[in-house]
Symmetry: D2
Subunit: 431 residues, 4 copies
């Protein structure tokens, strides 16, 4: 029986209200910690339509809880400010009209201080409401926590874009001590057999977004996957070999982007032709570290590099299967805030490296899984309606908050996006 | 052994030079027949960057043979006009710089008459060269024939777009007698089992483009597919039910397109709220026929309709498997030029209808097949470099020339494209 | 002798260093007073490419003094921060490359506090340098004061635009008590004879910008000028008469702007069809006051109204001559900060009303005066290079700082500009 | 009495119906002669929104007579094709909706042959109607003749733009024999006194457009004007001196245009740094002739050259006064069709050269004359509604048809326009 059985699979027990209250406090606190080094000005400005101001992220995630938990579940709840629904709804058509996305940066009011008061008021109301919440609200709250974690990563990527636009090239945080960066040893190829594999979220493992479901079977051919992502030093060789000037490596849309955007290297790189290439980081401009995984690539650049290296990108199912079969665990490099790619630990083991460093572009378009059914209610708009024109990334990055990563996670961005912490890992057919 | 065996599969014998000469004459003649009803003005103008003038299509397909057959294989061949390589190269980076696509309509010179002379000269040279051509040139010539057939369809779709922009709403051909058009009976659902299926081109069956290869196995879940495409009458019900005003049915990009473009119905439809809806055809504006398959849909509209109808689009592998298992044959409605969707023959059989009427959007992004390797030489740019941001359509349309359709054929367009003869067929999960 | 005599005319004595120091302190203080009600966020954001953030205005005016006074005159002066020249140069090609105008709002660094320190440091250096400054630096300083006054008006207009983009429609200042607003009595027509008139700045009257020179003679026909600007109530009648829907009143470019922009009334007006029209002001949204002069008009709207009213706009020379012959004095309504048009005092006198209320569009393009010679040095770029594609406005507005207005002043904006405090006064030929 | 007297001035006798019939036949024939060397394709395509296809010009001028003469005056007249009013109305709001200007090139139907039949039918009807036409229709017909002459010039300039976009650089006509082209001798300065001058059209001299009226007095300062326009050789010196790379010579908008457009020389010039500069002409690409007047300049380039040459552009009133006082006569270089600037005849006389060679940019914005009243009826839209954002050119060009030029003629274009036959003549103040 090749396809999934029709029975409902066993699912993990839902977290208790008390457990959710604990997690809620921690997640909400983490967002504030991310904003803490920033001035009100830093938190207000929007540097491009795709990015949002920190203040907006802080308010939007609050609106999400207020709307899907408090207003949905507590008939007595009074909106903190009824006008905020218009300002801080992101894209939920079913929840009414909203402020245009490209104008989020014009909201100098409500002020940063008012948004913090909004957060505090909603936090107090949520924690007071939790003990009497119904399962539907507890589910919505859990979704809201993962939602806020997604925005925590965006706070860092959007902020990085903003700071990059400033000729002063300012830093978000003081730079840590520089470490030596020898060139990475060649990545080891790990071989995986073909056959039927199970992919997608296993409901016994707790929460997932709807786009990771249903768990299902796929048929794979034998393949090889690199033990670690491509490093900056390796990518620099592509740059220096004229990779950005030779159309043969590029998808057609990619080559058009190279020419229209004047791309000559990954976003934020400079001085590639000289002795001391540099890149822009959340610590300011720093020397390029040979061993670090390359990031801020578009899908186009990732695919061009792979073609030049006589390899290819893995499909999302190859990636997931390789990680599962190897027993890889996605783990964070350390417990401190660490918003830029750090030096990769060279690893000769047979297990793919699973540090949170860079999202890895796959060669899978973001299509629905067979049997995919979106969540009900407003959450139906969470994922499904974006399933066209985007490409899947797997793994997690240095900006992904602790506890948010999992092997079935499907991140997705348009192929031209460069401002995320996005790199690649090579794959190839077995020959 | 779930994956393909590594041995090279048996392939069909290559057609002989004589057979290719026969086909060459027929295909080349057909292009001229398509242009015949048009004035030099009609053939010169470009109505949008995505479309090309008829004259350009006639010249570009000629340049393809001149470059990939004559210049590649005959050292003595002198270019008909060395400047034409710049004008009529479409997108082959490896064949040098070229005229920008959006400016193809500015080429009032060379004149229509000169382009016909170019065609005649190259035809003469090709036919003279064929008897001494090497297998590589014969292969290129065969590719060129299928390439020209693709442009034959584009001649009609691009022309239709041009004529549609004219307030006079002129006709390409005199309208045939109108037939009565009762509403179609509800489409029958055909059920298909899940399991492993073989998809992609079978090399024993003759020519294919590289994007249809390699043939490989996929794992399917049980599914149902409608016996025929959605009809105009059925789609009109969606329009009249307010489908174009309700975001819940739409992909996010699709809803944005509806609003930005002011879409209210399929491209070319008018009067949907009244008693006598009309649509623009290559015969001019005509009453909408209830039973005809709907066409000129974007992927967005196809997916929105499917959502509204509580169904979905098939994947390209479901589509191909259903057609193969049913023994469906793609056949042309008749042997006359028939450039608009005609009334579908209602069919209660268990075989999916296979008339050439409309391309059918699938819910599969245009990604490479596992193990895909592009053709060598300039033909490497034929398909592979477009494998991002596009969606697969299967089947064929009333504008597809005779002999061009096959079950493994992967047509592809960006999801917003509406000027092709593109419709949909519903699918659904087995419940 | 119809033309100006070639002798150099007598000029006013240049102000002393001590007098300039006094004015410098006052002008610089006024800028800070304007910013005082605003948060750092309010001062950082840019709402459109034409507008600049308050913080940028505060820094740019400081850079002007630092560059044209301190660096030009004091060899020992060290730049406060050498990177600021790039950030805060506006459009002086001769002073080096600069940050692109549309990205001024991305400068969250330097912070608001740093910019205030920059101002304080430059103020200290300027006041210390003044006693030993050469005449050229004193002249540059005087220019800098008038330059800063221009930016004081822009601080208010640019801020008003920013606040208007916020769905909360926030106020810059608390609203003053509302006054009753009866409809204005019809404006009295004042008649002026034709003949030769002297226009342009009289050097005996002190400072002027170079674009007001040289004083010269023009030949006028007899004309009539309204005693006061057009009121909101009068303009509302045009709106309600369908003025924005009838192309006959409009310049061709103006009609295109109406349609492209969906203009239905002056910028910031709402509810014109109902009983209680409103307009957006620096005090928030307020009821429209019938008697106030209309403002936030483009030249197109001003000209359309004039055509509808069977009149026309005056030329800049008619305006200046009428004001001079009548002995009108431009005076400020009061000494308090007054950033929105206030109710006009009806006036039956024969003197044109000269309150600072709205800039008045003329029907004169912004061309150079005969014999115009730009200032030398970097100041050459101050005015002359903008003399194409713009239209002259005369008078002053409620946002013009005290002491900045004069009868020869030539304000100029592109004809489509609406975010300035711009209205109109009618003129007509003597019949 | 400085201003015009209020009495109606004497006017020339209106031409008789017979005289108008003679002129009508000649003007209409000339349009066809201009189109004669062109294929139907050449006449159909539109190369930019500002330009129109030849076929459209031929039809639009016909529609003008049909509408303003036949339909206005002959109750029995039946429109040749009622749909043509929509297609061939240019910008007359009062005459109903119309096809968008940027889509004029999409009209492959009606065909070239149909448009010729339209012309013939209207010609026949007009000539039959003339003997019984009222004065108002005779006036409209005379306006129509001058209108068609304006379009005759546009046929050539728009066609030249179209051909220039073709990489083959095709010719409209076979090139005449090349003449030697020595450098021109320095242009002689002619001096003119200041004082009151009469400008504008003198009604005793026959027809004029409304924008040339009323004749009125202006006050001029003494000035000097060059005896001939600037030559190609002189302008090349500016190019080679780095004029296109130095912002000091340019208006601000002009410098932005230089950078955005990558301008390095006048439109159509190439090879300026080498020994053999070339320019594109209606005869194809030809060697640059030193002595020819430079053309295809924007106002920006004309003003930049003048600044570099330590001179300025004349005002339109200086230009007209100098020509009138000198007794200059605008005359055509020869009676053959002569669509590109020919070598200027050096002239040492005190009379400004008046050959039809290039339109001469002035430093006067296109504002209404004092007392300007537009024509009545639809002709009100002929000129007045364009009086903003444009700059006046005086004289005539090699493409202006015989008999169309006069000293009071006010041509006008936006300052960035380069595809007209536009050059410059230097002026300067008397020092």
């Amino acid at each position: 029986m090749p396809a999934d059985s029709p029975e409902t699979p066993p699912t993990a027990a839902a977290p208790s209200a008390a457990e959710l209250a604990r997690r809620y406090a921690a997640v909400r606190r983490h967002s504030l910690a991310l904003a803490e080094p920033l001035s009100a000005e830093d938190q207000c400005v929007q540097s491009m339509p795709d990015a949002s101001p920190t203040k907006w992220h802080l308010a939007h995630t609050t609106w999400f809880f207020e709307t899907l938990v408090l207003q949905a579940g507590d008939a007595a709840y009074q909106a903190h400010d009824p006008r905020f629904a218009f300002l801080f709804n992101s894209y939920y058509e079913s929840l009414g009209p909203r402020h245009p996305r490209p104008q989020r940066g014009l909201l100098t009011r409500p002020s940063q201080a008012e948004v913090l008061r909004y957060r505090a008021a909603v936090d107090e109301a949520v924690l007071a409401f939790l003990p009497r919440a119904q399962p539907a609200q507890l589910q919505a709250l859990e979704l809201g926590l993962h939602h806020e974690q997604q925005h925590q990563e965006l706070i860092l990527t959007d902020l990085k874009h903003l700071l990059s636009q400033n000729p002063l090239q300012p830093a978000y945080l003081p730079a840590p001590a520089a470490s030596a960066s020898p060139a990475a040893a060649p990545a080891r190829w790990l071989r995986f057999e073909g056959g039927i594999a199970e992919v997608g979220h296993d409901p016994r493992e707790g929460f997932s977004f709807d786009n990771e479901t249903p768990r299902h079977q796929v048929l794979l051919r034998p393949f090889e996957l690199a033990q670690r992502p491509v490093s900056c030093g390796e990518f620099l060789a592509f740059v220096r070999a004229g990779g950005y000037r030779d159309p043969q490596w590029w998808l057609s849309e990619g080559w058009a982007a190279v020419q229209a955007g004047g791309w000559q290297a990954p976003w934020g790189w400079s001085g590639c032709e000289g002795d001391a290439p540099q890149l822009f980081t959340l610590f300011g401009t720093r020397p390029l570290q040979w061993q670090e995984p390359v990031c801020h690539l578009s899908l186009y650049e990732a695919a061009a590099y792979a073609a030049w290296a006589d390899a290819r990108l893995p499909t999302e199912f190859e990636w997931e299967t390789a990680m599962r079969r190897s027993g890889a665990v996605l783990r964070r490099a350390d417990e401190t805030l660490h918003p830029h790619p750090r030096a990769a630990v060279p690893d000769d083991s047979a297990v793919p490296q699973g540090l949170h460093e860079v999202w890895e572009w796959t060669r899978s378009s973001y299509d629905p899984y067979p049997g995919f059914v979106p969540l009900g209610g407003p959450a139906a708009e969470y994922n499904g309606k974006f399933m066209v024109g985007q490409v899947v990334l797997r793994g997690a990055s240095c900006a992904t908050p602790p506890g948010h990563a999992r092997l079935s996670y499907r991140n997705f961005f348009p192929p031209a996006a460069r401002w995320q912490f996005s790199g690649l890992r090579l794959a190839r057919d077995v020959r």
